[in-house]
Each structure stands twice: as structure tokens, then as C-alpha cells.
Symmetry: C2
Subunit: 320 residues, 2 copies
Amino acid sequence: MTLKARLALELPAINKALDKALHNLPTAVLPVARHILEAGGKRLRPLLLVLMARLLGRDDARIRDLAVTLEMLHAATLLHDDVLDNALTRRGKPAAQTLFSVPTVILAGDALLAEANALVAAWGDKRLSLCFSQATSHTAAGEILEIAAQRRVDVTASAYTEMIRGKTAWLIRAACEMGALAAEADAAQVEAAAGYGENIGMAFQLVDDALDFAAQSVTGKPTGGDVREGKLTLPLRLYRDNLQEAERTAFDAAFCAGRLSAEEAAVIAERIRDMGYDVRAREEANVYLVAARQALEILPPRPERQLLNLMADYVRDRQK
Amino acid sequence: MTLKARLALELPAINKALDKALHNLPTAVLPVARHILEAGGKRLRPLLLVLMARLLGRDDARIRDLAVTLEMLHAATLLHDDVLDNALTRRGKPAAQTLFSVPTVILAGDALLAEANALVAAWGDKRLSLCFSQATSHTAAGEILEIAAQRRVDVTASAYTEMIRGKTAWLIRAACEMGALAAEADAAQVEAAAGYGENIGMAFQLVDDALDFAAQSVTGKPTGGDVREGKLTLPLRLYRDNLQEAERTAFDAAFCAGRLSAEEAAVIAERIRDMGYDVRAREEANVYLVAARQALEILPPRPERQLLNLMADYVRDRQK
């Protein structure tokens, strides 16, 4: 059975728990919450929590009630992000604020986050509440750094690394850490679970950044969106740093002014692929994946450990 | 000593704790957080938590670290509210989104909320985490109801009551309940503290709604702002329901279309004062204040109980 088929077996129970968790939301935001949560998504964070808990010896229906709080938090950040970016689409469907009013979408995000926090608090383990709220805080901080870095070329590579650690890796780290905590794992195991999650999260974002430059014929999405949105991701940074001075000056001016067209972005994406800068980002991702696999070594050699290793392969290899 | 002078003695220590709590916020949102938190405000919620805890036997520096999480949550809702309302001013100063970008303001709200949740979780009492996150959830739900009710005349009085219970009273209830919980009060005392807070909160909002129709010469604020914002508060509902049919039809059309001018709002406010509809809202507030005072009866007869009674007087009597 492929990883995808194996994970698909988990999804009905997770989606059922998610549906139950939405029952307490204010009626007025329920359509917004359903819109973002039923638009699809891989349920990566709940899956990681469930698998990590099972690997460490806990497997019951209740664990899924905890797991879906991460999808709610993730959905809340997507709602706010789409408002901030004036996004038109999300997961191939119309973005929420094109269907609902901006206030409703902002408050739906707030309500989802509040309800997720309440569900974690109701679980009654202060370590889980702390982990969850710190992940929320780091995610917000990462998004703030991302906005501050937009349309700028003077942000260091290490600042970029810390930004993606915040906006993406912390929540995936929290998913794995919370799974281990809920399973009452010992401190070394909790640390290993968190380390696996953080490294998988970093790799996930780096591959995402590489995929932004893949040909539209492969991904089905417009290529070079990050160029136009003024995001100096690793592949784009390599491209920019290797330009001749005159070309670089022109690029900087257009990039910082947000003046690059879809056609120019596609040309840059093609050059990035020709030069292999997207592959370089994948290589960087692989460094994190090696660390993620190492973290798994001290965890029990159960089938779930193999699944978590396969998820590292999936993150490395995904083509869209 | 007046209540105000007495409460002023508490403020330096609360403001110091608040300043400390902001240290962990992402640097990029710190100016936004400082802007909203240093613009003033009565620190009503932290004060209530501190006084309730002291009344029930707990008085240490740490209690203020807990108390300020409520001000952070309150500030987060104000930031999002001002974005939703396109407000120009807040507490007599420019609203945050006139000074900072909308994305920064939204994310500053998210970061304040996340950090407040993390601080409560770090306290390590799951009852506090639950109380805090439920208050957040109810506040968001109340705001959603408020937006859904805007520029409508078909919202029932009881729906309006539930809306203000959510948007205002829950958080004030949580402040009092958390103070009692942190003081390790018994269940009946916690219930009484929560009841006091909820009733004070309801009264506070009803008086606020009455004050919206006070003459600008008294409050220093434009009169009838709620008319123009399409909020059918209790005084305005009484005004509208007592119009002759033709007048009411005209009012409904203008109100629902958001077409009422500042001059028309001032005329309506004057009629509301002449008819005593604002006084009727204060009378309704007083019903809640009676319940608030009753709740205090079972709490210990310490000086703080007298202060909490004086705060009920203050809510009843305030003229701006």
C-alpha cells in the first residue's frame, strides 16, 4: 500500500472528529469554517499527531479530538493570511473573503483559534496548552516576519530561515510534540518527536518554496507566484545573488516595487530551474529530513515509525 | 478617598506587569501593541481580577502577571474591531490601522492573543486556561453576532442581550472568575465571583449604549455614533419601536441602508434623551447591578468587597 493510501485510511475518523469540533462554533462563522476546512487539505498536522501518539503507545478516539485542534489553528491562520494577501483562491477554490465579508472571515479565524484553544484547555494537561499556545505565538511571529520581509532584498538568509521556522515548522513541531505528550512519552521521546516535527516542517516549507518555480504544466498552479508577491525564498535568493550587478539592480528595483509581471516571473522561474536553484532548495530540505529521520531513531520500531519515515520521503519527493 | 483614586494606586503595578508581558511579543508587532495598550484604558479587567483574588485571600506580584493577560486579550479584540469598523480613532488617539498596515494590525492582534494564551497556560492551572479560552471564544461569537445584526431592525431584544453578553460580559466574567480560581476559592465563591463579573459586564455595556446618546458637550464624543453604525441598541430600539408607522418605515430604510447623517443622528439622540430611552437602558443596567451586588454577598466582608460594590456604583453613574 502506498503512503497516500495508508494515510487515507486515517482521514475519515479525523474528518469526523473535525466535524464534531466545529459544533461549538458560533453559527455565523460556521459556513466560513466549513468552507476552509472542507476545501481539502492534507490534514498533515492531525495525521502527525495521531501517528506520533500511536507510535508511542496511545491510540483511542479521543486522541483525534486533540489532533483536529491543529487543523483548526492551521485553518485560522489560512483565513487571516488570505485576508492579508487579498488572495483570490485557496486550495483551488475561491478564497473565503471572496465569498464572505472580510470582518466575518477575520472573526471566523478568531473563533476557530479560540475554540481550538478551549478544546486543548478542556483536555486538562497544561503541557499541551502551553505547547499549543506557543505554537500559535510562533506562527504569528513568523507571519509577521514574512510580511516585514516582503519586497525586500536585504533580509539575511538566516532571518529567512527563522521566518519559515516560525510560520510553518513550529506548528508541525507542536503536532508531533503534542502526540508524544498525550501518549505520556518520556522527556527524551517528547524531545525526539518535537525534533522530527520541526525538521519535517522546515523541509516542507523549503520544498514548497522550490515548487513555486516548477512549471505550471507540472503543478497546475501559476509559476513564480513568490516572485510577484515579493518573497525572497531560497531559490530566488540564489538567482538574485548570482545576477550581474546591472541586472541585479534592475531586478531589485522591480522586485521591491512589486512591478514584476506574470511573464517576467515565468522567465525567472525557468532560469531558476535551468540553474538548478530549486534543486538546491530541495537539497537544503534534505539536510532537515536527515535530522528528522535521526530523531526517529530513538523512538520505538513500530509500524508508525516506518510511516513517519515515509512521510519524510513524501516531503522530499513531492512534485506539486 | 474616591474609587478612582483608590484604583489609581493599583495601576502602576498592573502597568509594570503588562509591560513585562509584552517582552515576548515579536518585535515587529511591539509598536502596535504599545500603541493600543499605552493609549490609556481603565484596565478594568485586570483590576477586577486583582481585587477579586485579594478579596478571596490571594495577593502577590504573580497575580498581576495573570491579570494582564485579560488586558492583552481585550487589546487584541480592539485591534481587530478597529480594522473591521475602519475606525479612525480609539481612546481619543488615532486607531492602529491608520498608523500601521492592516496586516500588521491583524497579526498584532493574533500575536497578543497567542501570547496571552501562552502566559495563562504557563500558569499551569487547566481551569484558568479553560476559562480564558472560553471567554475568547464567547467574545468572538458576540462580535460575530454584532456584525450579523448590523443595519438590521429585525433582531430581537433577547438576541441583542445575548450579543452583548458575548462581546462584553464574558470577558469581565472571566476576569472575576479567574481571580477567584487563582485564589483557590471554593466552588460557590467562584460561581459568585463569575456572577458578579457577568452582571457588571452586562450593565457596563448597557450604560455604554445609553452614553452613546448623551450630548457631545457632556462626553466629548460625537453623539449617536451607534445610529450611524447601524447598531440597534436598547435606547435606539425603544425610539424605533415607538415611531408612527410612516416614520418607522422611513427610519428603517435609512438605518438599514446606512444613510443617516451625523445631523440626523444628533436629532435622534436628542429625541431619545427627551423621551428618556437612555435612562431606560440605565434602569435595565441597574437590574444587572442589583444581581452583581447580590452575588458579592456570599464573599468575605473585606475592604475589596466594598471596592467591588463601589465599582457597581461607578458603572451605574458614569457620565462619559
